[in-house]
């Protein structure tokens, strides 16, 4: 190390790393000894998602492509930008669209935050796909990680649903028509959709249990068209329910990665 570097380091060692404040926060010295490098990972809530040490292959980017970590990182970016958007957005047809217009035009950084949220969501869908692809290509789904793969599949589905429910919220032409196309398929759910095979068999003569005002699409939209109740439902799903479930499953996912052990060649 250079002379200046040595000097800086000496000052830090003496006045910062020994100080009461530093020690109250980190409880160990600068992580450049084996002991402190272990402690930094073990004693930090966020870092302790990792083990203190890993086998060499697992650290390399060419093995994980960093895609799992980035999936989580995108989730965080989306949570932060999403909270920002929530301050300015009201989920009713009379306000939703004008709120987005105002967000773009009047709110400082509003346009930027909306873009981050929109493009980040697209990016997350892609990143989760590619994470799944890497887990598949390295055979990491095999025993004992079968269950965690299944948790991942549900996370993938939640990621798509999060993106899909968010699509409706701007309440513009793109939004309602994409959601109309998407939810029309629910009409055709066997037995549960009013245009699904078997649905007309449930009931008696003219009395039908499953019709356009009682089928699964109606339940999803809170109506038979994409209207105000659909907007509210998608909003609640998008901002509360789905993120909570996804967050919960991510906790399970990360826990299991540690418990199952990270995949390694035998």
């Amino acid at each position: 190390m250079s002379a200046v570097g040595d000097q800086v380091r000496k000052i830090l060692d003496e006045s910062v790393y020994q100080s009461v404040i530093w020690k109250s926060v980190f409880r160990h010295g600068f992580p450049d000894t084996d002991r402190n490098r272990t402690l930094v990972v073990l004693s930090n809530l966020f870092l302790h998602l990792h083990p203190a040490k890993l086998k060499g292959h697992a650290v390399r980017m060419r093995y994980t492509w960093c895609m799992g970590g980035l999936s989580f990182f995108m989730f965080l970016i989306l949570t932060i930008s999403g909270v920002f958007l929530m301050f300015y957005y009201r989920p009713t047809p009379e306000y939703a669209y004008v709120d987005i217009v105002a967000l773009r035009e009047d709110v400082p950084l509003g346009m930027f935050m909306r873009n981050v949220h929109r493009w980040g969501a697209h990016a997350m869908v892609l990143i989760v796909w590619l994470h799944m692809l890497r887990v598949f290509m390295t055979g990491s789904y095999k025993a004992p990680r079968e269950f965690n793969w299944a948790v991942g599949v549900i996370l993938l589905k939640l990621t798509l649903l999060l993106s899909f429910t968010g699509y409706l919220l701007p309440w513009d032409q793109l939004a309602i028509w994409a959601i109309t196309v998407g939810t029309n398929m629910a009409r055709a759910t066997p037995f549960l959709g009013h245009e699904g095979p078997g649905a007309s068999l449930i009931g008696y003569d003219d009395f039908k249990v499953v019709h356009s005002k009682s089928d699964i699409r109606f339940a999803l939209l809170g109506g038979s068209i994409v209207g105000p109740s659909a907007l509210l439902r998608f909003y609640v799903l998008h901002c509360v329910f789905l993120p909570l479930v996804a967050g919960f499953l991510m906790a399970v996912h990360f826990w299991r990665i540690r418990k199952d052990g990270f995949s390694a060649p035998l």
Binding site: L47, A58, V153, S163, G182, P190
Partner: protein, 369 residues
């Protein structure tokens, strides 16, 4: 909305016509399948950096030439289509990374060496700094990329929602366009409910149905040929390719358009798709199809029943070892998922070759296959 766009420069027309022709569904799909299996076969050549770079350059040239077409240019600059290009680039990149390492490892095994990952795994590294630094740098780069994307490209906001005025074409979000494309060939209860459900159930079942203990913790192809070929076929051909088709080749009325063919709302296609029952009763037997569905549709039912019974039975013989390894239940799960997966290309080819509409057609119960 403006009318159809122009055709682009005259000197490009022969090339554009050729590409439009290649984009016809049957040719594009068949070509992609052949390319896919060809690429698996010639993977050793394809992953060599000079070859890969050559392919990338060729694709870039193709992309920039394509921008000369007003139609493609229009679609390419739509902000919401940006993820499609990123998808193509990133998917290509990681597939290359996986196969580059797989080819390398397979070669090492042939020489009696251990995998590259195995060598690296000998050493244990501290997560701080070796992993944390990588994570921090990658996170910073990705954040910068998202910021740059957000500064450079505005998220679209169209007109206020109007339930009375449907855009043409009305497209689902890009990641569901594969499913929307399947709607061309199957009714919604299959394309929108059954197939997505079976993608999920198939993915969840996968670890329980792969009896091959090899290939954990390192990249390989030769030790997992079957699993990798099937998975990538599903991912690249039946998902990524169909998203591309849904984005760039489906225009007004969900009609098919060549990559450079202007989206004309009045494009007329003579649609005379025919049901299997008509083929059977009218063309083969020369009489009118019976009115009652259980009489009329029995050939279709027989065909489907046969497909899902005879094929599995044949498979137990053809893949005897696999069958013994898995046992009846797990083997059935695998075969059923594979047969449903294959039923998509089968229906596609039946549509393209003999204009087949439905194999079973019982509109009263919305039961059309």
């Amino acid at each position: 909305m403006s009318g159809p766009v122009g055709l682009g420069p005259d000197y490009m027309q022969p090339f554009f016509d050729f590409v439009n022709w290649v984009c016809k569904p049957q040719i594009l799909f068949s070509g992609s399948v052949v390319t896919f299996f060809g690429a698996l076969k010639f993977r050793k050549i394809l992953v060599k950096p000079p070859v890969t770079i050559g392919i990338v350059i060729a694709m870039l040239v193709f992309f920039f030439i394509s921008l000369l077409s007003p139609q493609f240019y229009n679609e390419a600059r739509k902000a919401d289509n940006a993820p499609i290009f990123i998808m193509i680039v990133l998917t290509g990149l990681v597939i290359w990374a996986a196969f580059y390492q797989a080819v390398n490892n397979d070669e090492r095994f042939r020489q009696g060496l251990r995998s590259d990952e195995h060598e690296a795994a000998e050493e244990k590294l501290h997560v701080w700094p070796y992993l944390i630094y990588i994570e921090a740098i990658v996170a910073a780069f990705v954040l910068a990329a998202i910021f740059a994307w957000s500064i450079g490209l505005e998220a679209p906001l169209e007109q206020f929602a109007n339930p009375a005025k449907s855009p043409n074409p009305a497209k689902a979000p890009w990641y569901f366009l594969g499913l929307q494309e399947m709607l061309v060939y199957y009714d919604p209860w299959i394309a929108g409910v059954l197939l997505p459900g079976m993608i999920i159930s198939g993915l969840i079942a996968l670890p329980y149905c792969d009896p091959n203990p090899k290939g954990v913790g390192y990249f390989t192809f030769e030790q997992r040929r079957f699993a990798i070929s099937v998975f990538l076929f599903g991912f690249l051909i039946l998902w990524v390719l169909l998203i591309f088709v849904g984005t760039f080749l489906r225009g007004p009325n969900w009609n098919f358009f060549g990559l450079y063919e202007p989206w004309n709302e009045h494009k007329l296609l003579s649609l005379n798709n025919v049901n299997l029952s008509e083929y059977f009763w009218t063309n083969l037997l020369g009489k009118a199809p019976p009115a009652e569905w259980w009489k009329r549709e029995w050939p279709g039912f027989a065909l489907i029943l046969g497909y899902f019974t005879v094929m599995p039975a044949l498979a137990t013989v053809a893949f005897k070892k696999f069958y013994q390894q898995l046992g009846f239940v797990r083997f059935s799960v695998v075969i059923m998922h594979l047969l449903v997966m294959l039923s998509l290309p089968i229906k596609m080819y039946l549509r393209w070759s003999i204009n087949l509409k439905y194999i079973v057609f019982i509109p009263d119960y919305f039961f059309n296959i």
